[in-house]
């Protein structure tokens, strides 16, 4: 039932606007109780999970297709869920301050909470299909959040870009998940974890891996799909703090970690993950220092962190997995805090440009302190959690089995660039001489400070006392593929190579920070090269898509109904004909036994149809169709279908009424086409008619399969309590079909009514602004 409690967040999201009307600015505090409650519940699972007993909450969803709502709470999902719900609570509070009095705050809250629930579902789901559903939900909600300022063209563009990239990846992911499920013989993640060997040997392993990784890489902004993440900074800052640092972009990382025990450890896995991860890590760090916009700086450093995490999963040793967990936690804490600080700066000073700020420490001392602590963790300096994560990362790169030197170089470069970024973000705005900013800065409201302060404090606290994490890290590491682990995190490992590398990185990073302004000018020379990066590829694909759409629209959707028809029919005839003559040798059954009266009825039918085509007047054509309809009714009578006969007769009658009402308000028949056109149409029509005839003869000549209706014939009376089998099928055996059909009927009626109702603006094609009551039907 906990599943429903978590998913009831969707309901809560729907009621957010109503709550806002009642509670006003206190809404966010109230809403934050929801993730807070989830945090409490998750913490209650802690002892069991750390004790090595994952919690499995079973619940069926679509039992017929093996789709469950089962929640799996092991170390990995516990950590992710805690981050999502915990940071989510702070982000809600923060958003209340950041968007205080914003016209669209209720809408924002709806989407944010829906996103939060989707994300929780994603990390807690045990079923592949359920996981995918939540995965797509996060793509959609994040699209809405990035495009929150929908009047801004660049925000819309960034939102669409994020959506395209992640949804295209989602499509690959779906294919990968289907392959994974069918190859592994189960849709449950828990089950699949135990089938690693069979999966790695499976012939579908490589395509499966590529599809799954495409999904994960696009979501987690890995090179060359990294470009959408910095662009997504068009979103309001609370969104950036939440989605683009702590949660959504980590969904791909989560998936890869989840799949590590089932698919990891192979040559392909290690090669792809460590190279792509290292490349992303370096690209992110390098591109970061080009920017002066504080959100872009942080966004690119997020790309760096995501790359590092992927690389660590690729290395895959026990040490690397420990480093993965610690780095992940450290990054979520400091990046959440730093983004919220960035939002505070933007909110209070009115600019996002770090070069336009300075000396703010006297005006906002608390914010300064928070920023400093979080940035120290980003830089990987003691005594913060980020330091432990980075040392462990260096350590595991040193022991990587593949590409050791390359990874080491890239990791070192990324490290000193990151130190420079940390210094830029934490020192530039707060120290130095005071500068004039658009607004006069002062400390933000407490609701906005609480989140970053708590997250920064956690970075410090866990850095000083990392032992508290031992149990959780161990549970996770064992859960994601390390055979057995005995984890002891410590701040101080003595003087070793990683420490020396950190020292060297610190010196280099500091130098870059001191010469940053000059360096930026130098890097500007690289702009044309960077402009040709993957984003240019994305733009080219979009342009090409539009061109192709234009071309095919002109070619196929040319507005001539008969062209659509002729193309469709000829393709059909071609395909069926091909199957007929090249794939199968059809057996035609032409044995015939016909009574004279039956032949007469069939002859009337044909005569009616042909006459309808030849008649020059509408009335004669309608009468001919009527003859055909009544012959069909007779056929039903002769061949044991009383219900059909009655229905056909009644419909024929009503059709006449309908045509009387409509057809004769329409123009007379006109001969509009040239003889050659008629001949062409005759050929198309004849080809189709011949195809249908041959198809039916082939079906009759083919092997008779047992009728599924035998069951219905035998059980109509015993089960359905009815003697008319056709009716029992309609209202009992296949009642769901019938339900669908009467809905179609109802829709047709509504369509008819709507079209005639908006009749008033005759000839102008405009709809009346106000419905009139005179023809309301009452």
């Amino acid at each position: 039932m906990m599943q429903l409690a978590v998913l009831s967040g969707f309901v809560l999201a729907a009621f957010a606007p109503l709550l806002y009307r009642w509670l006003g600015s206190r809404t966010t505090v109230f809403l934050a109780l929801y993730p807070a409650a989830i945090v409490v519940w998750l913490l209650a699972q802690w002892p069991s999970v750390v004790g090595g007993e994952p919690v499995l909450l079973e619940m069926a969803w679509v039992p017929g297709m093996d789709i469950t709502l089962t929640f799996l709470i092991d170390g990995l999902s516990l950590l992710f869920a805690l981050l999502i719900a915990g940071i989510g609570a702070f982000v809600l509070l923060y958003a209340g301050g950041y968007l205080h009095g914003h016209r669209d705050l209720p809408r924002f809250l709806v989407i944010l909470i829906a996103f939060m629930v989707s994300m929780l579902g994603l990390v807690l789901a045990d079923n592949l299909v359920t996981l995918f559903v939540f995965w797509e939900l996060t793509s959609i909600t994040s699209y809405l959040l990035i495009g929150f300022n929908h009047t801004d063209l660049s925000a819309r563009k960034a939102a669409l870009q994020g959506l395209f990239v992640t949804v295209a990846g989602g499509l690959a992911l779906l294919a990968g998940l289907v392959m994974l499920g069918s190859a592994g013989g189960s849709w449950s993640l828990v089950e699949l974890t135990t089938r690693g060997e069979a999966l790695r040997e499976h012939p579908l392993y490589t395509p499966m891996l590529i599809c799954l990784l495409l999904g994960a890489f696009t979501k987690s902004a890995q090179f060359p799909f990294h470009f959408w993440l910095p662009n997504a900074m068009a979103a309001p800052t609370p969104v950036s703090a939440y989605l683009h640092s702590a949660t959504m972009v980590k969904a791909g990382i989560y998936l890869m970690a989840r799949l590590q025990p089932s698919l990891g450890g192979t040559e392909a896995w290690v090669t792809i993950l460590s190279l792509v991860g290292a490349m992303t890590m370096f690209t992110g760090a390098f591109l970061a220092v080009r920017h002066t916009n504080v959100k872009k700086l942080l966004a690119y450093s997020t790309v760096m962190a995501l790359g590092t995490l992927t690389m660590l999963l690729g290395i895959g040793t026990q040490g690397a997995l420990v480093a993965f967990v610690v780095f992940l936690l450290a990054h979520s804490l400091y990046k959440g805090a730093l983004f919220m600080v960035a939002g505070i700066l933007d909110h209070e000073t009115g600019t996002k440009d770090v070069t336009a700020m300075g000396g703010l420490r006297t005006l906002m001392p608390v914010t300064t302190a928070v920023a400093l602590v979080a940035a120290l963790s980003l830089a990987g300096l003691p005594p913060l959690l980020g330091f432990i994560g980075k040392e462990l990362m260096f350590e595991s790169v040193l022991h990587a089995s593949h590409f050791t030197l390359l990874l080491l170089l890239l990791a070192f470069a990324a490290a000193f660039l990151t130190i420079a970024v940390a210094a830029i973000v934490a020192l530039r705005p707060f120290f130095g001489e005071q500068r004039q900013t658009p607004h006069v800065a002062h400390e933000p409201p407490a609701a906005m400070l609480l989140g970053p302060a708590v997250l920064a404090a956690l970075s410090l606290l866990l850095g000083l006392m990392p032992g508290g994490l031992d149990g959780l890290v161990q549970a996770i590491v064992v859960g994601i593929g390390a055979p057995e682990a005995n984890v002891h995190l410590a701040l101080w490992h003595g003087i070793n190579l990683p420490l020396l590398m950190s020292l060297a990185a610190l010196v280099l990073g500091w130098l870059i920070f001191r010469r940053w302004d000059r360096l930026r000018a130098r890097l500007a020379y690289l702009d044309p090269v960077i402009a040709r990066g993957p984003e240019a590829g994305y733009d080219a694909i979009m342009v090409a898509l539009v061109r192709i759409a234009e071309w095919q629209t002109r070619a196929l959707q040319n507005g001539y109904l008969r062209n659509y028809l002729a193309v469709t029919l000829l393709v059909l005839v071609g395909l069926v004909g091909h199957a007929f003559f090249f794939r199968h040798t059809p057996q035609f059954d032409v044995s015939i036994s016909v009574y004279l009266h039956e032949a007469v009825v069939a002859g009337l039918m044909i005569a009616g149809a042909v006459t309808a085509c030849l008649m020059k007047s509408r009335l004669a054509a309608v009468a001919a169709v009527g003859v055909m309809g009544f012959s069909i009714a007779l056929t039903f009578v002769l061949f044991s279908a009383p219900d059909l006969a009655i229905t056909q007769l009644l419909v024929e009658t009503l059709t006449v009424i309908l045509l009387v009402l409509v057809l004769f308000r329409l123009p007379r028949f006109a001969n509009l086409s040239a003889p050659s056109e008629r001949l062409r149409d005759l050929v198309v029509a004849s080809a189709f008619g011949v195809m249908v005839t041959l198809l039916m003869l082939a079906v009759l000549g083919g092997e008779r399969l047992p009728r599924i209706s035998d069951y219905m014939v035998e059980n109509s009376q015993p089960l359905g309590h009815g003697h008319n089998i056709v009716n029992v099928i309609l209202v009992d055996f296949r009642a769901l079909d019938t339900l669908g059909e009467i809905f179609v009927l109802a829709l047709a009626a509504i369509g008819v009514y709507a079209m005639l109702r908006f009749h008033a603006a005759e000839g102008t094609g405009r709809l009346p602004t106000r419905p009139r009551s005179s023809d309301d039907g009452e």
């Binding site: 229905t647 009503l654 309908l658 009716n727 009467i742 509504i750 009514y753 008033a760 023809d775």
Partner: protein
């Protein structure tokens, strides 16, 4: 274009309507055992009303049936959907048919019958919606 009818049509429509409606109910109720059922009965009833409509015009028809044909459609869908629910009470899967016998007359009531009544109403309502909508604009193009 469609004028209120002649004397013969008027008289015929007046007397035939109740008979036709009774007949449609008969077809509806016996449909489970003999040819008939909601679709057929709905069409018969729609035909009956159409005859009346041609004889006496739209106003008279509206005055007689009181409810809008679109409401019949909605009501029919509600009946059909409602018939899916009783199975849930008994813990059976959605849409499982339920049967009860009305004591004195020995009439068998069931969810399939409720469903069929829903079909009847939807068919009747849809056809009448189409026909009355066309009549409306026929008589008064600006309405």
């Amino acid at each position: 274009m469609v004028r209120s009818g002649t004397l013969i049509l008027n008289v015929a429509a007046r007397f035939l309507l109740p008979l036709q409606l009774l007949f449609s109910l008969f077809l509806l109720l016996r449909g489970h055992d003999e040819p008939g059922g909601g679709f057929i009965a709905g069409l018969v009833a729609a035909g009956a009303f159409a005859l009346y409509l041609f004889a006496f015009g739209l106003g008279a028809l509206r005055a007689m049936i009181k409810v809008s044909p679109r409401d019949l459609v909605g009501l029919g869908l509600l009946f059909a959907l409602g018939s899916t629910l009783p199975a849930w009470w008994g813990g059976e899967p959605f849409f499982t048919s339920q049967w009860w016998t009305v004591p004195i007359i020995g009439f068998k009531a069931s969810t399939p019958l409720i469903f069929d009544i829903g079909v009847y109403l939807v068919v009747l309502g849809s056809v009448l919606t189409a026909i009355t909508a066309l009549m409306t604009t026929d008589r008064d193009p600006d309405a």
